[in-house]
Symmetry: C2
């Protein structure tokens, strides 16, 4: 069924206008000709106020996560706001131990934004959603006046199912546990900054934006569920901030070995140039795992056997510490505190 | 557990700054001292990447709905963006026939926005969420530079449980069904426009922003589930657009009696002044019900007995029509087509 739109949407030369957000014919046309066509699934096609979906299996719990995305620029090496909005939310479900099931997407568009660029973003989002097998089942579209937004903002919310026995959480790290990372640190943050600062390198620094759901399933297949104490994706604030969050939530400290942390040489070099620390740069396809010591080798091996965990490394241990400090043994053998990100913000990285 | 914030957030004179969105210490402080304190529930307090929640009861399906909120101004008679963001999403779950269970909230804040105003919004949101019994279990906070946003945008997503037997949907209206509305049309839209246009009336026009979940349960208690063919909240585009959506989805027409549609005299007067039609103005606490004819009287009586449905009315019927036209028998006895909202947009009404 179709409303009799006067003419098809001009996806080549058209622009977002205020009518696209007014909830009338133009909104319906944008949804059916652009969004619903790209996301293409029966729940969305229904066109009702929400989506009716199969519930998790008996015994499974529900997991819910949300992220707004305001990354600037909207397109960057290795991704764009559309694929990022899928990966970001899928990853927050995955690090809760859940199988991601469904996504919602809320778009806030700026008047005047080219429909052709919006289509690129929506197509990339649809492709990311298809490739991780998590459909966008419901959505919303609002438009704000020129100068009251910035092209495109996308808030995605994910719902997943948590199999029985799994209960990773930031509060579950215990002294003696081992800290693992799935790969190099800082790629996403530096990819964005390099575009913004128009840095030129021999080869482009690419975002690591990618889904972690499959890597997490691989991990759970390799070690007992209760050996996996904490999973987290080190996004804004980077590895340093994420480790501090875990330390605070668990009431423990950490001892991290700087030399063991994988960082791409190019990211390292760009950091030196800009006076930044890769441990504070965002990642969008990396996993931190806090694991029971007796299963750490198996966990590491399982990650390394997976394409998204090839460079996985053991980077430190959880220790007893009433101050919940994260300490870094530096490459030169000294010690320094690895504090939360503070001071100069790195805005709009995701 | 608490990070050692240098000093507490200045909720009286402070302003949102870019650091509040950078994902480090300042973000954590804003979340713990403002958001988590107001929303106050164990899932959110956990502070993990998502919330682990009880799943729907066996036999129930899952319902998911999302809406971005960009209303301007942020505060208006009868509500604000915070309470609206709760009601909007709760209502989309309710009109799917679902019991609303959980909400997520994604905030996009503009640099420089006063924290005191943000606190008013968040407190109103928390109050609305408490009073409808649907907690905000997970959230996200991003900040954009001054001039790249407009104070506060909030995207809420809701998850609900659909009891067996219920299946209202826009495609289920059949010729002979009766169309009911739960009360007066156009209040929300006109409340917003009146503030924007600085119209002065004898008494203020107030938004009808309110949750519909309880009214929907009352309806299901009064008539068999399959008698309720369609439920919908006539938000953007108003009653006219919503009826056209239903007609299109169902492949039917409608015959609506203008004189039967409740409109507050003040809204009527303001519409005349501004050259607007109340049937195209948004509502944020009203229900459209398409009901099997033999149960229409019971449904109407049940709504009228509920505080949110006191002014409920039977406004027309579904008819066979291959063009899916919505026709209005005017108060003067003539007939006119009630088309989708098009032409002059009414921007940022929700
Ligand atoms: N950007 C989008 N991507 C995918 N689907 C969308 C998008 N925007 C809207 N939709 C879908 O279009 C349909 C109508 O959405 P709409 O937002 O108009 O409904 P609503 O939320 O009931 O109304 P309102 O937003 O005025 O409260 C829904 O099925 C919704 O899931
Ligand atoms: N505005 C908010 N209201 C309520 N809770 C919030 C809000 N913003 C963040 N939170 C909560 O704070 C915690 C940390 O959120 P944060 O967004 O930093 O995590 P993340 O999504 O894993 O990281 P990122 O957003 O960088 O991907 C989560 O438990 C989240 O639910
Ligand atoms: Mg609706
Ligand atoms: Mg996240
Ligand atoms: Mg909507
Ligand atoms: Mg996360
Ligand atoms: Mg809605
Ligand atoms: Mg987040």
């Amino acid at each position: 069924m179709k409303a009799n739109y006067t003419r098809p949407l001009d996806l080549k030369h058209g622009r977002v206008d205020m009518n696209h957000g007014a909830g009338g014919r133009a909104t319906a046309q944008l949804v059916s000709e652009l969004f619903a066509r790209a996301f293409d699934n029966p729940w969305l096609a229904q066109g009702d106020d929400g989506a009716v979906l199969p519930a998790p299996e008996p015994g499974e719990r529900l997991v819910m996560a949300t992220d707004g995305h305001v990354v600037s620029p909207l397109f960057f090496p290795g991704g764009d706001i559309g694929s990022l909005a899928v990966h970001g939310t899928v990853n927050d479900l995955a690090v809760m131990g859940a199988r991601p099931l469904y996504l919602s997407a809320s778009f806030i568009l700026e008047e005047g934004y080219p429909l052709a660029d919006l289509k690129r973003i929506v197509d990339a989002m649809a492709e990311a959603s298809r490739s991780v097998g998590v459909p966008v089942v419901t959505g919303d579209t609002k438009v704000v006046e020129q100068g009251k937004g910035d092209g495109v903002f996308i808030a995605t919310t994910g719902v997943g199912a948590l199999p029985p026995g799994r209960a990773p959480g930031g509060a579950s790290a215990r002294p003696g546990d081992v800290v693992l990372v799935s790969g190099s640190m800082g790629d996403h943050g530096m990819a964005i900054l390099a575009v913004r600062e128009a840095l030129a390198f021999d080869s482009e620094i690419r975002s690591d934006s990618a889904p972690l759901a499959c890597l997490v399933e691989t991990l759970y297949a390799a070690v007992p569920a209760d050996a996996i104490r904490v999973l987290r994706d080190p996004t804004r604030g980077g590895l340093a901030t994420t480790l501090n969050e875990i330390a605070r939530q668990s009431g423990a400290g950490m001892l991290i070995d700087e030399a063991a942390i994988p960082v791409h040489p190019q990211v390292e070099a760009a950091c030196e140039l800009l006076g930044l620390d890769p441990l504070y740069l965002a990642n969008e396809g990396k996993l931190i795992v806090v694991c029971a010591p007796e299963h750490a080798e198996a966990a590491l091996a399982a990650m390394r056997a997976h394409p998204r965990g090839r460079d996985a490394a053991r980077i430190g241990t959880v220790i007893a510490d009433d101050h919940h400090f994260v300490q870094l043994r530096t490459a030169l053998g000294g010690m320094r505190m690895l504090d939360w990100l503070s001071g100069e913000p790195l805005p709009r990285i995701c």
